[in-house]
Symmetry: C2
Amino acid sequence: MQALIVSDANVDALYGAACEAALRAQGLNARRAVVPAGEASKDLGRAAALCSAAAQAGLDRSSWIAALGGGMVGDLAGFVAAVYLRGVRCLHIPTTLLAMVDSSVGGKTGVNLPEGKNLVGAFHQPQAVAADLDTLETLPEREYLSGLAEVVKYGLIYDAEFFALVERGADTLLLRDKALLETVVSRCCEIKAEIVAADEKERGDLRALLNFGHTLGHALENAEGYGRWLHGEAVAIGMAYALELSCAARGLPRAECERARTLLRKLRLPVRRDGGAALWTALRRAMAADKKTLDHKLRFVLLERIGRAQTGCDVKDNLLAEKWHVCCE
Amino acid sequence: MQALIVSDANVDALYGAACEAALRAQGLNARRAVVPAGEASKDLGRAAALCSAAAQAGLDRSSWIAALGGGMVGDLAGFVAAVYLRGVRCLHIPTTLLAMVDSSVGGKTGVNLPEGKNLVGAFHQPQAVAADLDTLETLPEREYLSGLAEVVKYGLIYDAEFFALVERGADTLLLRDKALLETVVSRCCEIKAEIVAADEKERGDLRALLNFGHTLGHALENAEGYGRWLHGEAVAIGMAYALELSCAARGLPRAECERARTLLRKLRLPVRRDGGAALWTALRRAMAADKKTLDHKLRFVLLERIGRAQTGCDVKDNLLAEKWHVCCE
């Protein structure tokens, strides 16, 4: 049985050979395909080259594509697994905290267009996800912290008790304590799986919960150019913004908003964009162009309490602008 | 609501404006995107350009992609509809007989790789199929006859009574009689829809029925270069070959085999590849590389009687070669 391991140059250098050996030990005829590190590899041209590599390696419908790496590799290789021969089996082997708690679970795959991120993709559930916490030891600090933003998100949107656990364990988490990480990563995957199982293809409103902080977060990445902000950093600012909107429009108590902001700051995540007032027009436009909009109408995920979120919230334009300025002061 | 009509240059010149007007009359904000005619347009580069066109036209998740044309346009535009924003609504407007009876129904979409045809794709059911028989008036004769090959296939694999109807009406069908075509196209779509509904993603053996004649047919297209044979012509030769295998390996009565070959010839379809003996090695290799093989094992659809087919048939290699030579004499 054939397998193609897709990775980026950084991750392949660290774990490619070990991964290939592990799959071979399982009886798979595994080969590796390596793409340059960085978001620029996540496009249809690279997907086409990987599909050709799969064909040349003789992959058939019983074969596997393994995604070894972070979110970029998972999205790209997952997309290749979704469309090569109209779908082959996919194994995610996430090596970043963000990929472990977010992109490796749920079956969303995607590549970018010049017109925007993740505008092309498919829903394709992995057959399995194998997260080895040891790989987090080589993860750069900023990348690790970026993953923690999504961890905080799960507490905020779904599980107040989990939020409190992360709050209590913040210092330990910053030290990458393996025992606590095991609890945290498992719970995040459970929450995401529960949400996705109830609304796999985002037809209802439930899956949209996962977009808390992402409407502004994506717009910020888009308006400032990918590369300035890591995804989790942009989402942290987006969550801080959504928390302000939640206080103003959904009655989230100010004290809960501050608790959440305090935790983000403790985890060394940004909660403001200093000097960002001039960005508003670009952000507003980018939010309207988000693929989750329907007929150009903006919808936000907002909190009523920590652990209780509401999707599909309509917010008045002047409030949107006002609360952005709060996040820039 | 936005719509993007995808067509090729030939079809757009004939029906693009009328189609755009018709969709606008339904309240859709329709635009057209035109690709060059011919199979070469069916690749990931063209799919990427169409996705960009969709983004630039402001298509969101509530929008439509309309495929106006033959099988190439349907496969390409269907694939774009499947992956743009992870799937938007698709309307097929087939303008060839082949597309009306085959590719517009069933949800298979695909593009080609340098390594082979339809190696990339997705299952994505159209929201609707609108077949206007008047468009067949402008269809070149060879293209029309090529579509009839798939018509004959449905009778052979599924419905002996329908086969007899086509047999009786062969002369009338050659004249493109609208009343008979309506009956024939409807019945073909019914048969295909029944088969697909029972096995949408080709996980069982049922959908494989539709591949009758296609194992050799695809190999012939592949080995001789696309362009020499129209799809239906290659399938007609492939069916003649599969009929011979069926007599030898499945007990199909010789008289039924001859009835089927006679009908194909009456519909001016090829049933042999004169001088093709030297192609055998290339054909054998191409059949083994087909994406429907599992672990490189060839499986054929063969007939026990007209109207009764069996999938997953294993045929000995010497018989495969011998019956090819029968088709070349």
